[in-house]
Symmetry: C2
Subunit: 309 residues, 2 copies
Amino acid sequence: MKKEIKIFSPATVANVACGFDVLGFCLDNKGDEMVIRKVSEKGIRITHIEGYDLPYEANKNVAGVSALSMYENINPDCGFEIEIYKNIKPGSGIGSSAASAVGSVFGMNELLGKPYNKTQLTYFAMKGEALSSKSEHADNLAPAIFGGFTLVKSTLPLDILQIPKPSELYATLIHPQIEIKTSDAREILPKQVSLKDATAQWANVGSLIHALHTSDYKLIHRSLQDIIVEPFRKQLIPHFDDVKFAALEAGALGCAISGSGPSIFALSQGKETALKVENAMQMVYSKTNIEFNTFVSDINIKGIKILKS
Amino acid sequence: MKKEIKIFSPATVANVACGFDVLGFCLDNKGDEMVIRKVSEKGIRITHIEGYDLPYEANKNVAGVSALSMYENINPDCGFEIEIYKNIKPGSGIGSSAASAVGSVFGMNELLGKPYNKTQLTYFAMKGEALSSKSEHADNLAPAIFGGFTLVKSTLPLDILQIPKPSELYATLIHPQIEIKTSDAREILPKQVSLKDATAQWANVGSLIHALHTSDYKLIHRSLQDIIVEPFRKQLIPHFDDVKFAALEAGALGCAISGSGPSIFALSQGKETALKVENAMQMVYSKTNIEFNTFVSDINIKGIKILKS
Protein backbone atom coordinates (compact mmCIF):
# COMPACT_ATOMS: atom_id res chain seq x y z
CA MET A 1 0.00 0.00 0.00
CA LYS A 2 1.29 3.41 -1.00
CA LYS A 3 2.04 5.76 1.88
CA GLU A 4 2.75 8.98 0.04
CA ILE A 5 1.83 10.51 -3.29
CA LYS A 6 2.95 13.61 -5.12
CA ILE A 7 0.43 15.10 -7.48
CA PHE A 8 0.07 17.92 -10.01
CA SER A 9 -3.22 19.79 -9.60
CA PRO A 10 -3.88 21.91 -12.67
CA ALA A 11 -5.13 25.44 -13.17
CA THR A 12 -8.47 25.71 -14.96
CA VAL A 13 -10.57 28.25 -16.83
CA ALA A 14 -14.22 28.47 -15.79
CA ASN A 15 -17.20 29.93 -17.69
CA VAL A 16 -15.46 29.87 -21.10
CA ALA A 17 -17.24 33.03 -22.31
CA CYS A 18 -20.82 31.86 -22.87
CA GLY A 19 -21.00 29.13 -20.23
CA PHE A 20 -21.26 31.03 -16.96
CA ASP A 21 -21.19 28.67 -13.99
CA VAL A 22 -21.33 25.53 -16.13
CA LEU A 23 -18.41 25.30 -18.59
CA GLY A 24 -14.70 24.97 -17.89
CA PHE A 25 -11.47 23.59 -19.31
CA CYS A 26 -8.21 22.35 -17.87
CA LEU A 27 -4.76 23.89 -18.39
CA ASP A 28 -1.59 21.94 -18.87
CA ASN A 29 1.49 23.79 -17.74
CA LYS A 30 0.24 25.70 -14.74
CA GLY A 31 -0.73 24.06 -11.50
CA ASP A 32 0.06 23.32 -7.88
CA GLU A 33 2.07 20.40 -6.60
CA MET A 34 0.94 18.66 -3.47
CA VAL A 35 2.19 15.78 -1.38
CA ILE A 36 -0.41 13.71 0.46
CA ARG A 37 0.88 11.31 3.11
CA LYS A 38 -0.99 8.59 4.94
CA VAL A 39 -0.07 8.52 8.64
CA SER A 40 -1.21 6.51 11.63
CA GLU A 41 -2.33 9.53 13.66
CA LYS A 42 -5.95 10.24 12.78
CA GLY A 43 -7.13 13.54 11.34
CA ILE A 44 -6.14 15.96 8.57
CA ARG A 45 -3.02 18.09 9.05
CA ILE A 46 -1.49 20.60 6.69
CA THR A 47 2.19 20.27 7.40
CA HIS A 48 3.82 22.47 4.79
CA ILE A 49 2.80 25.39 2.55
CA GLU A 50 5.06 27.03 0.00
CA GLY A 51 4.45 29.73 -2.59
CA TYR A 52 1.68 31.72 -0.99
CA ASP A 53 0.63 32.53 2.53
CA LEU A 54 -2.33 30.30 3.37
CA PRO A 55 -3.79 29.10 6.68
CA TYR A 56 -2.45 25.86 8.19
CA GLU A 57 -5.65 25.13 10.11
CA ALA A 58 -7.38 22.40 8.07
CA ASN A 59 -10.85 23.84 8.59
CA LYS A 60 -9.73 27.25 7.30
CA ASN A 61 -7.78 25.97 4.32
CA VAL A 62 -9.55 25.02 1.08
CA ALA A 63 -7.50 21.82 0.68
CA GLY A 64 -8.15 21.01 4.32
CA VAL A 65 -11.90 21.54 4.13
CA SER A 66 -12.31 19.27 1.11
CA ALA A 67 -10.02 16.70 2.77
CA LEU A 68 -12.10 16.82 5.96
CA SER A 69 -15.28 16.36 3.94
CA MET A 70 -13.96 13.12 2.44
CA TYR A 71 -12.32 12.07 5.69
CA GLU A 72 -15.58 12.36 7.63
CA ASN A 73 -17.41 10.43 4.94
CA ILE A 74 -15.06 7.44 4.88
CA ASN A 75 -13.83 7.67 8.49
CA PRO A 76 -10.61 5.71 7.90
CA ASP A 77 -8.37 4.17 10.55
CA CYS A 78 -5.56 6.58 9.65
CA GLY A 79 -4.82 10.24 9.11
CA PHE A 80 -3.36 12.38 6.34
CA GLU A 81 -0.67 15.02 6.07
CA ILE A 82 -0.88 17.53 3.25
CA GLU A 83 1.97 19.54 1.78
CA ILE A 84 1.02 22.34 -0.60
CA TYR A 85 3.45 23.79 -3.15
CA LYS A 86 1.32 26.56 -4.52
CA ASN A 87 2.06 27.91 -8.00
CA ILE A 88 -1.37 29.27 -8.82
CA LYS A 89 -1.81 32.63 -7.14
CA PRO A 90 -4.98 32.75 -5.03
CA GLY A 91 -7.56 35.08 -6.58
CA SER A 92 -6.01 35.00 -10.04
CA GLY A 93 -9.13 33.57 -11.67
CA ILE A 94 -7.65 30.33 -12.96
CA GLY A 95 -8.97 27.98 -10.32
CA SER A 96 -6.43 28.38 -7.54
CA SER A 97 -8.81 27.28 -4.81
CA ALA A 98 -10.17 24.51 -7.04
CA ALA A 99 -6.66 23.10 -7.53
CA SER A 100 -6.17 23.01 -3.76
CA ALA A 101 -9.62 21.55 -3.10
CA VAL A 102 -9.13 18.86 -5.71
CA GLY A 103 -5.54 17.97 -4.86
CA SER A 104 -6.11 16.78 -1.31
CA VAL A 105 -9.11 14.57 -2.10
CA PHE A 106 -7.54 13.14 -5.26
CA GLY A 107 -4.38 12.20 -3.35
CA MET A 108 -6.26 10.73 -0.38
CA ASN A 109 -8.46 8.70 -2.72
CA GLU A 110 -5.38 7.22 -4.40
CA LEU A 111 -3.82 6.32 -1.03
CA LEU A 112 -7.08 4.72 0.12
CA GLY A 113 -7.31 2.48 -2.97
CA LYS A 114 -9.74 4.64 -4.97
CA PRO A 115 -12.98 4.12 -3.07
CA TYR A 116 -14.52 7.16 -4.82
CA ASN A 117 -15.19 8.01 -8.48
CA LYS A 118 -14.44 11.36 -10.09
CA THR A 119 -17.90 12.77 -9.51
CA GLN A 120 -17.71 11.88 -5.83
CA LEU A 121 -14.29 13.56 -5.60
CA THR A 122 -15.87 16.66 -7.12
CA TYR A 123 -18.56 16.57 -4.47
CA PHE A 124 -15.98 16.63 -1.67
CA ALA A 125 -13.95 19.31 -3.44
CA MET A 126 -17.04 21.52 -3.66
CA LYS A 127 -16.96 21.79 0.13
CA GLY A 128 -13.47 23.25 -0.07
CA GLU A 129 -14.31 25.51 -3.00
CA ALA A 130 -17.25 26.92 -1.05
CA LEU A 131 -14.84 28.19 1.63
CA SER A 132 -13.28 30.56 -0.88
CA SER A 133 -16.18 31.51 -3.14
CA LYS A 134 -19.02 31.36 -0.60
CA SER A 135 -21.09 29.21 -2.95
CA GLU A 136 -20.83 25.58 -3.98
CA HIS A 137 -20.04 25.36 -7.64
CA ALA A 138 -17.96 22.98 -9.69
CA ASP A 139 -17.06 24.77 -12.91
CA ASN A 140 -13.35 24.86 -11.99
CA LEU A 141 -13.36 21.58 -10.07
CA ALA A 142 -14.81 19.45 -12.84
CA PRO A 143 -12.13 20.26 -15.46
CA ALA A 144 -9.37 19.87 -12.82
CA ILE A 145 -10.61 16.36 -11.99
CA PHE A 146 -11.90 15.15 -15.37
CA GLY A 147 -9.54 17.09 -17.68
CA GLY A 148 -10.44 18.67 -21.03
CA PHE A 149 -13.67 20.60 -21.40
CA THR A 150 -16.44 19.89 -18.93
CA LEU A 151 -20.04 20.94 -18.59
CA VAL A 152 -21.51 20.88 -15.08
CA LYS A 153 -25.10 20.16 -16.03
CA SER A 154 -26.22 20.44 -12.43
CA THR A 155 -24.64 20.55 -9.00
CA LEU A 156 -27.55 18.94 -7.17
CA PRO A 157 -27.34 16.14 -8.14
CA LEU A 158 -23.82 16.56 -9.44
CA ASP A 159 -23.94 15.82 -13.18
CA ILE A 160 -20.69 16.38 -15.08
CA LEU A 161 -20.23 15.89 -18.82
CA GLN A 162 -16.90 15.52 -20.61
CA ILE A 163 -16.90 17.39 -23.91
CA PRO A 164 -14.39 16.48 -26.64
CA LYS A 165 -11.49 18.81 -27.34
CA PRO A 166 -10.43 19.75 -30.88
CA SER A 167 -6.79 18.76 -31.32
CA GLU A 168 -5.40 22.14 -32.36
CA LEU A 169 -6.89 24.20 -29.55
CA TYR A 170 -4.50 26.20 -27.34
CA ALA A 171 -5.14 28.64 -24.52
CA THR A 172 -3.38 31.92 -23.82
CA LEU A 173 -3.67 33.48 -20.38
CA ILE A 174 -2.83 36.88 -19.01
CA HIS A 175 -2.96 37.53 -15.29
CA PRO A 176 -2.99 41.19 -14.32
CA GLN A 177 -1.70 41.38 -10.75
CA ILE A 178 -4.80 42.91 -9.21
CA GLU A 179 -7.11 41.26 -6.73
CA ILE A 180 -10.73 40.39 -7.41
CA LYS A 181 -12.53 38.27 -4.85
CA THR A 182 -14.79 35.60 -6.32
CA SER A 183 -17.50 36.68 -3.92
CA ASP A 184 -17.24 40.33 -5.08
CA ALA A 185 -17.29 39.23 -8.72
CA ARG A 186 -20.52 37.40 -8.02
CA GLU A 187 -22.13 40.31 -6.24
CA ILE A 188 -21.61 42.61 -9.23
CA LEU A 189 -23.83 40.39 -11.37
CA PRO A 190 -27.50 41.19 -11.99
CA LYS A 191 -30.05 38.87 -10.38
CA GLN A 192 -32.26 39.13 -13.47
CA VAL A 193 -31.42 39.05 -17.15
CA SER A 194 -33.61 39.66 -20.18
CA LEU A 195 -35.14 36.58 -21.78
CA LYS A 196 -33.74 37.85 -25.09
CA ASP A 197 -30.15 37.92 -23.81
CA ALA A 198 -30.56 34.59 -22.01
CA THR A 199 -31.82 33.03 -25.26
CA ALA A 200 -28.80 34.34 -27.17
CA GLN A 201 -26.55 32.96 -24.45
CA TRP A 202 -28.00 29.45 -24.54
CA ALA A 203 -27.76 29.48 -28.32
CA ASN A 204 -24.05 30.17 -27.85
CA VAL A 205 -23.64 27.42 -25.24
CA GLY A 206 -25.36 24.95 -27.55
CA SER A 207 -23.28 26.00 -30.53
CA LEU A 208 -20.01 25.87 -28.56
CA ILE A 209 -20.75 22.28 -27.50
CA HIS A 210 -21.56 21.44 -31.14
CA ALA A 211 -18.37 23.18 -32.29
CA LEU A 212 -16.22 21.23 -29.81
CA HIS A 213 -17.78 17.97 -31.00
CA THR A 214 -17.20 18.80 -34.65
CA SER A 215 -13.81 20.58 -34.30
CA ASP A 216 -15.38 23.54 -36.08
CA TYR A 217 -12.95 26.33 -35.19
CA LYS A 218 -14.94 29.02 -37.00
CA LEU A 219 -17.98 28.08 -34.98
CA ILE A 220 -15.92 28.10 -31.78
CA HIS A 221 -15.06 31.67 -32.75
CA ARG A 222 -18.71 32.61 -33.30
CA SER A 223 -19.77 30.90 -30.06
CA LEU A 224 -17.25 32.41 -27.63
CA GLN A 225 -19.45 35.34 -26.73
CA ASP A 226 -20.75 36.40 -23.35
CA ILE A 227 -23.44 39.06 -23.33
CA ILE A 228 -24.64 38.28 -19.80
CA VAL A 229 -21.69 38.36 -17.42
CA GLU A 230 -18.82 40.06 -19.24
CA PRO A 231 -20.45 43.52 -19.45
CA PHE A 232 -20.51 43.62 -15.65
CA ARG A 233 -17.32 41.83 -14.65
CA LYS A 234 -15.10 43.51 -17.20
CA GLN A 235 -15.52 46.72 -15.21
CA LEU A 236 -13.35 45.11 -12.53
CA ILE A 237 -10.51 44.38 -14.98
CA PRO A 238 -8.52 47.38 -16.28
CA HIS A 239 -7.91 47.35 -20.07
CA PHE A 240 -10.09 44.28 -20.61
CA ASP A 241 -11.53 45.60 -23.87
CA ASP A 242 -8.06 46.45 -25.18
CA VAL A 243 -6.73 42.98 -24.36
CA LYS A 244 -9.72 41.34 -26.00
CA PHE A 245 -9.42 43.50 -29.09
CA ALA A 246 -5.69 42.80 -29.38
CA ALA A 247 -6.18 39.06 -28.88
CA LEU A 248 -8.83 38.82 -31.57
CA GLU A 249 -6.76 40.98 -33.92
CA ALA A 250 -3.85 38.58 -33.36
CA GLY A 251 -6.04 35.71 -34.51
CA ALA A 252 -7.63 34.33 -31.33
CA LEU A 253 -10.90 32.44 -31.76
CA GLY A 254 -12.23 34.18 -28.69
CA CYS A 255 -11.17 36.05 -25.60
CA ALA A 256 -13.03 36.45 -22.32
CA ILE A 257 -12.68 36.66 -18.56
CA SER A 258 -11.27 33.51 -16.94
CA GLY A 259 -13.63 32.53 -14.14
CA SER A 260 -14.38 35.61 -12.11
CA GLY A 261 -11.15 37.29 -13.24
CA PRO A 262 -8.86 39.15 -13.20
CA SER A 263 -7.16 36.66 -15.55
CA ILE A 264 -8.23 36.84 -19.17
CA PHE A 265 -8.04 33.82 -21.48
CA ALA A 266 -8.04 33.40 -25.21
CA LEU A 267 -8.45 30.25 -27.28
CA SER A 268 -6.63 29.86 -30.58
CA GLN A 269 -6.25 27.31 -33.35
CA GLY A 270 -2.61 26.26 -33.25
CA LYS A 271 0.20 27.05 -30.84
CA GLU A 272 1.74 29.61 -33.19
CA THR A 273 -1.39 31.76 -33.06
CA ALA A 274 -1.66 31.27 -29.29
CA LEU A 275 1.88 32.66 -28.96
CA LYS A 276 1.01 35.66 -31.16
CA VAL A 277 -2.00 36.26 -28.96
CA GLU A 278 0.24 36.13 -25.89
CA ASN A 279 2.49 38.75 -27.45
CA ALA A 280 -0.50 40.96 -28.31
CA MET A 281 -1.79 40.73 -24.73
CA GLN A 282 1.68 41.60 -23.38
CA MET A 283 1.85 44.66 -25.64
CA VAL A 284 -1.36 46.03 -24.13
CA TYR A 285 -0.37 45.52 -20.49
CA SER A 286 3.26 46.56 -20.90
CA LYS A 287 1.96 50.07 -21.55
CA THR A 288 0.26 50.13 -18.16
CA ASN A 289 1.78 50.26 -14.69
CA ILE A 290 0.06 47.02 -13.67
CA GLU A 291 2.26 43.97 -13.11
CA PHE A 292 1.18 40.95 -15.13
CA ASN A 293 2.25 37.58 -16.39
CA THR A 294 1.20 35.49 -19.35
CA PHE A 295 1.48 31.92 -20.54
CA VAL A 296 0.36 29.63 -23.33
CA SER A 297 -1.00 26.19 -22.54
CA ASP A 298 -2.27 23.11 -24.28
CA ILE A 299 -5.71 21.96 -23.13
CA ASN A 300 -4.98 19.29 -20.52
CA ILE A 301 -7.20 16.33 -21.33
CA LYS A 302 -5.92 14.23 -18.42
CA GLY A 303 -6.64 16.63 -15.57
CA ILE A 304 -5.05 16.15 -12.16
CA LYS A 305 -2.25 13.59 -12.23
CA ILE A 306 0.22 11.63 -10.13
CA LEU A 307 3.82 12.88 -10.32
CA LYS A 308 5.31 10.33 -7.94
CA SER A 309 3.85 7.58 -5.82
CA MET B 1 -36.26 23.01 -67.39
CA LYS B 2 -38.90 21.82 -64.93
CA LYS B 3 -42.20 23.73 -65.00
CA GLU B 4 -43.95 22.28 -61.99
CA ILE B 5 -42.98 20.62 -58.75
CA LYS B 6 -44.91 18.87 -56.02
CA ILE B 7 -43.35 18.95 -52.59
CA PHE B 8 -43.90 17.68 -49.05
CA SER B 9 -43.34 20.38 -46.44
CA PRO B 10 -43.01 18.78 -43.02
CA ALA B 11 -44.37 19.68 -39.61
CA THR B 12 -41.73 20.59 -37.02
CA VAL B 13 -41.31 20.90 -33.27
CA ALA B 14 -39.69 24.11 -32.03
CA ASN B 15 -38.04 24.85 -28.68
CA VAL B 16 -37.57 21.17 -27.72
CA ALA B 17 -38.06 21.86 -23.99
CA CYS B 18 -34.85 23.66 -23.00
CA GLY B 19 -34.07 25.41 -26.29
CA PHE B 20 -36.63 28.20 -26.45
CA ASP B 21 -36.41 30.08 -29.75
CA VAL B 22 -33.29 28.21 -30.92
CA LEU B 23 -33.83 24.42 -31.10
CA GLY B 24 -36.16 22.45 -33.35
CA PHE B 25 -36.61 19.10 -35.04
CA CYS B 26 -38.39 17.85 -38.12
CA LEU B 27 -41.28 15.37 -38.23
CA ASP B 28 -41.73 12.66 -40.81
CA ASN B 29 -45.32 11.70 -41.36
CA LYS B 30 -47.13 14.99 -40.96
CA GLY B 31 -46.86 17.85 -43.41
CA ASP B 32 -48.43 19.89 -46.17
CA GLU B 33 -48.24 19.17 -49.86
CA MET B 34 -47.77 22.03 -52.26
CA VAL B 35 -47.53 22.40 -56.01
CA ILE B 36 -45.38 25.22 -57.35
CA ARG B 37 -45.71 26.05 -61.04
CA LYS B 38 -43.56 28.32 -63.16
CA VAL B 39 -45.69 30.46 -65.52
CA SER B 40 -44.96 33.19 -68.04
CA GLU B 41 -47.15 35.80 -66.35
CA LYS B 42 -45.04 37.62 -63.79
CA GLY B 43 -45.92 37.72 -60.09
CA ILE B 44 -46.91 35.30 -57.33
CA ARG B 45 -50.43 33.87 -57.38
CA ILE B 46 -52.00 31.40 -54.98
CA THR B 47 -54.34 29.43 -57.20
CA HIS B 48 -55.65 26.71 -54.93
CA ILE B 49 -55.98 26.07 -51.20
CA GLU B 50 -57.34 22.89 -49.67
CA GLY B 51 -57.64 21.68 -46.08
CA TYR B 52 -57.97 24.95 -44.21
CA ASP B 53 -59.41 28.35 -44.97
CA LEU B 54 -56.48 30.66 -45.73
CA PRO B 55 -56.23 33.92 -47.68
CA TYR B 56 -55.57 33.75 -51.43
CA GLU B 57 -53.95 37.21 -51.56
CA ALA B 58 -50.22 36.51 -51.77
CA ASN B 59 -49.28 39.38 -49.44
CA LYS B 60 -51.67 38.08 -46.75
CA ASN B 61 -50.71 34.43 -47.03
CA VAL B 62 -47.60 33.08 -45.28
CA ALA B 63 -46.53 31.05 -48.34
CA GLY B 64 -47.19 34.08 -50.51
CA VAL B 65 -45.19 36.49 -48.39
CA SER B 66 -42.11 34.25 -48.33
CA ALA B 67 -42.53 33.65 -52.07
CA LEU B 68 -42.73 37.40 -52.71
CA SER B 69 -39.60 37.95 -50.62
CA MET B 70 -37.61 35.59 -52.83
CA TYR B 71 -39.32 36.79 -56.00
CA GLU B 72 -38.38 40.40 -55.33
CA ASN B 73 -34.82 39.39 -54.57
CA ILE B 74 -34.23 37.43 -57.78
CA ASN B 75 -36.70 39.32 -59.99
CA PRO B 76 -37.08 36.53 -62.58
CA ASP B 77 -38.58 36.82 -66.04
CA CYS B 78 -41.50 34.60 -65.04
CA GLY B 79 -44.15 34.15 -62.38
CA PHE B 80 -45.25 31.38 -60.02
CA GLU B 81 -48.52 29.73 -59.11
CA ILE B 82 -48.84 28.08 -55.73
CA GLU B 83 -51.28 25.34 -54.74
CA ILE B 84 -51.50 24.54 -51.05
CA TYR B 85 -52.84 21.23 -49.75
CA LYS B 86 -52.80 21.95 -46.03
CA ASN B 87 -52.64 19.03 -43.60
CA ILE B 88 -51.10 20.85 -40.65
CA LYS B 89 -53.78 22.82 -38.85
CA PRO B 90 -52.86 26.49 -38.45
CA GLY B 91 -52.17 27.33 -34.81
CA SER B 92 -51.54 23.74 -33.76
CA GLY B 93 -47.97 24.40 -32.62
CA ILE B 94 -46.17 22.07 -35.01
CA GLY B 95 -44.96 24.63 -37.51
CA SER B 96 -48.00 25.04 -39.74
CA SER B 97 -47.00 28.51 -40.93
CA ALA B 98 -43.36 27.43 -41.22
CA ALA B 99 -44.35 24.58 -43.54
CA SER B 100 -46.23 27.03 -45.76
CA ALA B 101 -43.45 29.61 -45.67
CA VAL B 102 -40.81 27.05 -46.53
CA GLY B 103 -42.78 25.20 -49.20
CA SER B 104 -43.18 28.04 -51.64
CA VAL B 105 -39.55 29.18 -51.56
CA PHE B 106 -38.18 25.63 -51.67
CA GLY B 107 -40.32 24.85 -54.73
CA MET B 108 -39.48 28.12 -56.50
CA ASN B 109 -35.78 27.59 -55.82
CA GLU B 110 -35.94 24.14 -57.44
CA LEU B 111 -37.75 25.49 -60.50
CA LEU B 112 -35.22 28.32 -60.85
CA GLY B 113 -32.24 25.90 -60.82
CA LYS B 114 -31.33 26.28 -57.14
CA PRO B 115 -29.83 29.77 -57.06
CA TYR B 116 -30.17 29.87 -53.25
CA ASN B 117 -28.72 27.70 -50.47
CA LYS B 118 -30.71 26.40 -47.51
CA THR B 119 -29.79 29.29 -45.24
CA GLN B 120 -30.92 31.79 -47.86
CA LEU B 121 -34.20 29.90 -48.24
CA THR B 122 -34.65 30.17 -44.49
CA TYR B 123 -34.09 33.92 -44.73
CA PHE B 124 -36.94 34.30 -47.25
CA ALA B 125 -39.18 31.96 -45.27
CA MET B 126 -38.67 34.11 -42.16
CA LYS B 127 -40.54 36.90 -43.93
CA GLY B 128 -43.54 34.62 -44.30
CA GLU B 129 -43.25 33.28 -40.76
CA ALA B 130 -43.24 36.84 -39.43
CA LEU B 131 -46.72 37.40 -40.92
CA SER B 132 -48.15 34.78 -38.57
CA SER B 133 -46.04 35.13 -35.44
CA LYS B 134 -45.31 38.87 -35.60
CA SER B 135 -41.60 38.25 -35.07
CA GLU B 136 -38.90 36.87 -37.33
CA HIS B 137 -37.66 33.62 -35.96
CA ALA B 138 -36.47 30.43 -37.58
CA ASP B 139 -36.78 27.66 -35.02
CA ASN B 140 -39.52 25.90 -37.05
CA LEU B 141 -38.17 26.94 -40.45
CA ALA B 142 -34.66 25.59 -39.95
CA PRO B 143 -35.68 21.97 -39.19
CA ALA B 144 -38.25 22.05 -42.03
CA ILE B 145 -35.53 23.07 -44.51
CA PHE B 146 -32.48 21.27 -43.11
CA GLY B 147 -34.19 18.26 -41.50
CA GLY B 148 -33.21 16.54 -38.25
CA PHE B 149 -32.38 18.64 -35.22
CA THR B 150 -31.30 22.23 -35.79
CA LEU B 151 -29.95 24.99 -33.61
CA VAL B 152 -30.55 28.54 -34.81
CA LYS B 153 -27.48 30.14 -33.30
CA SER B 154 -28.55 33.58 -34.43
CA THR B 155 -31.09 35.08 -36.81
CA LEU B 156 -29.02 38.16 -37.66
CA PRO B 157 -26.88 36.97 -39.32
CA LEU B 158 -28.74 33.73 -39.88
CA ASP B 159 -26.56 30.94 -38.47
CA ILE B 160 -28.07 27.45 -38.50
CA LEU B 161 -26.39 24.33 -37.14
CA GLN B 162 -27.39 20.76 -37.94
CA ILE B 163 -27.19 18.55 -34.88
CA PRO B 164 -26.93 14.75 -35.24
CA LYS B 165 -29.93 12.58 -34.43
CA PRO B 166 -29.64 9.38 -32.38
CA SER B 167 -31.00 6.53 -34.48
CA GLU B 168 -33.63 5.25 -32.05
CA LEU B 169 -35.32 8.57 -31.32
CA TYR B 170 -39.06 8.85 -32.03
CA ALA B 171 -41.53 11.65 -31.41
CA THR B 172 -45.08 11.42 -30.11
CA LEU B 173 -47.43 14.36 -30.59
CA ILE B 174 -50.82 15.22 -29.16
CA HIS B 175 -52.79 18.13 -30.53
CA PRO B 176 -55.62 19.31 -28.30
CA GLN B 177 -58.07 21.12 -30.57
CA ILE B 178 -57.89 24.48 -28.88
CA GLU B 179 -56.48 27.64 -30.36
CA ILE B 180 -53.40 29.45 -29.06
CA LYS B 181 -52.02 32.26 -31.16
CA THR B 182 -48.22 32.36 -31.40
CA SER B 183 -48.35 36.06 -30.64
CA ASP B 184 -50.42 35.46 -27.46
CA ALA B 185 -48.07 32.68 -26.38
CA ARG B 186 -45.18 35.11 -26.69
CA GLU B 187 -46.92 37.85 -24.73
CA ILE B 188 -47.45 35.58 -21.72
CA LEU B 189 -43.69 35.18 -21.30
CA PRO B 190 -41.73 37.26 -18.78
CA LYS B 191 -39.35 39.85 -20.19
CA GLN B 192 -36.81 39.06 -17.45
CA VAL B 193 -35.66 35.77 -16.00
CA SER B 194 -33.42 35.05 -13.04
CA LEU B 195 -29.75 34.52 -13.82
CA LYS B 196 -29.99 31.30 -11.79
CA ASP B 197 -32.77 29.86 -13.96
CA ALA B 198 -31.11 31.07 -17.16
CA THR B 199 -27.90 29.32 -16.10
CA ALA B 200 -29.76 26.06 -15.47
CA GLN B 201 -31.41 26.41 -18.87
CA TRP B 202 -28.16 26.89 -20.79
CA ALA B 203 -26.67 23.93 -18.94
CA ASN B 204 -29.59 21.90 -20.30
CA VAL B 205 -29.17 23.23 -23.83
CA GLY B 206 -25.48 22.36 -23.74
CA SER B 207 -26.12 18.92 -22.35
CA LEU B 208 -28.89 18.18 -24.86
CA ILE B 209 -26.52 19.03 -27.73
CA HIS B 210 -23.89 16.78 -26.14
CA ALA B 211 -26.47 14.01 -25.67
CA LEU B 212 -27.59 14.19 -29.30
CA HIS B 213 -23.95 13.95 -30.43
CA THR B 214 -23.25 10.96 -28.19
CA SER B 215 -26.65 9.19 -28.54
CA ASP B 216 -26.88 9.29 -24.75
CA TYR B 217 -30.58 8.67 -24.22
CA LYS B 218 -30.37 8.97 -20.44
CA LEU B 219 -28.78 12.38 -20.84
CA ILE B 220 -31.46 13.38 -23.37
CA HIS B 221 -33.91 12.53 -20.61
CA ARG B 222 -32.07 14.65 -18.04
CA SER B 223 -31.71 17.55 -20.50
CA LEU B 224 -35.29 17.85 -21.73
CA GLN B 225 -36.30 20.33 -19.06
CA ASP B 226 -37.69 23.81 -19.44
CA ILE B 227 -37.83 25.93 -16.32
CA ILE B 228 -38.13 29.24 -18.17
CA VAL B 229 -41.01 29.05 -20.63
CA GLU B 230 -43.09 26.00 -19.69
CA PRO B 231 -44.29 27.35 -16.31
CA PHE B 232 -45.99 30.22 -18.17
CA ARG B 233 -47.18 28.64 -21.39
CA LYS B 234 -48.54 25.47 -19.81
CA GLN B 235 -51.28 27.61 -18.29
CA LEU B 236 -52.69 27.96 -21.80
CA ILE B 237 -52.87 24.18 -22.31
CA PRO B 238 -55.50 22.27 -20.31
CA HIS B 239 -54.20 19.08 -18.65
CA PHE B 240 -50.61 19.74 -19.69
CA ASP B 241 -49.18 18.44 -16.41
CA ASP B 242 -51.28 15.27 -16.63
CA VAL B 243 -50.15 14.57 -20.19
CA LYS B 244 -46.51 15.15 -19.26
CA PHE B 245 -46.77 12.91 -16.21
CA ALA B 246 -48.46 10.15 -18.21
CA ALA B 247 -45.91 10.38 -21.03
CA LEU B 248 -42.96 10.13 -18.65
CA GLU B 249 -44.61 7.27 -16.77
CA ALA B 250 -45.04 5.47 -20.09
CA GLY B 251 -41.30 5.74 -20.68
CA ALA B 252 -40.82 8.96 -22.62
CA LEU B 253 -37.38 10.57 -22.36
CA GLY B 254 -39.05 13.97 -22.06
CA CYS B 255 -42.30 15.76 -22.74
CA ALA B 256 -42.87 19.46 -23.32
CA ILE B 257 -44.86 22.03 -25.25
CA SER B 258 -44.33 21.92 -29.01
CA GLY B 259 -43.46 25.44 -30.11
CA SER B 260 -45.96 27.80 -28.58
CA GLY B 261 -48.54 25.03 -28.17
CA PRO B 262 -51.18 23.76 -27.82
CA SER B 263 -49.53 20.61 -29.20
CA ILE B 264 -47.42 18.66 -26.74
CA PHE B 265 -44.53 16.46 -27.87
CA ALA B 266 -42.62 13.65 -26.26
CA LEU B 267 -39.38 12.02 -27.35
CA SER B 268 -38.78 8.32 -26.74
CA GLN B 269 -36.12 5.71 -27.36
CA GLY B 270 -37.66 3.26 -29.80
CA LYS B 271 -40.95 3.27 -31.67
CA GLU B 272 -42.56 0.84 -29.26
CA THR B 273 -42.15 3.26 -26.37
CA ALA B 274 -43.31 6.15 -28.54
CA LEU B 275 -46.53 4.23 -29.24
CA LYS B 276 -47.01 3.52 -25.52
CA VAL B 277 -46.55 7.22 -24.88
CA GLU B 278 -49.17 8.00 -27.53
CA ASN B 279 -51.58 5.67 -25.78
CA ALA B 280 -50.87 7.28 -22.41
CA MET B 281 -51.50 10.75 -23.84
CA GLN B 282 -54.77 9.57 -25.40
CA MET B 283 -55.90 8.15 -22.05
CA VAL B 284 -55.53 11.57 -20.42
CA TYR B 285 -57.37 13.54 -23.10
CA SER B 286 -60.10 10.96 -23.72
CA LYS B 287 -61.36 11.76 -20.22
CA THR B 288 -61.85 15.40 -21.17
CA ASN B 289 -64.36 16.96 -23.52
CA ILE B 290 -61.61 18.48 -25.68
CA GLU B 291 -61.16 17.07 -29.17
CA PHE B 292 -57.63 15.93 -29.90
CA ASN B 293 -55.50 13.87 -32.21
CA THR B 294 -52.19 12.12 -31.77
CA PHE B 295 -49.47 10.62 -33.93
CA VAL B 296 -46.05 9.02 -33.69
CA SER B 297 -43.28 10.09 -36.03
CA ASP B 298 -39.72 9.25 -36.88
CA ILE B 299 -37.38 12.24 -36.81
CA ASN B 300 -37.18 13.39 -40.44
CA ILE B 301 -33.51 13.91 -41.24
CA LYS B 302 -34.14 14.96 -44.84
CA GLY B 303 -36.56 17.82 -44.21
CA ILE B 304 -38.68 19.24 -47.02
CA LYS B 305 -38.65 17.02 -50.11
CA ILE B 306 -39.76 16.72 -53.70
CA LEU B 307 -42.69 14.34 -54.28
CA LYS B 308 -42.93 14.81 -58.04
CA SER B 309 -41.15 17.02 -60.52
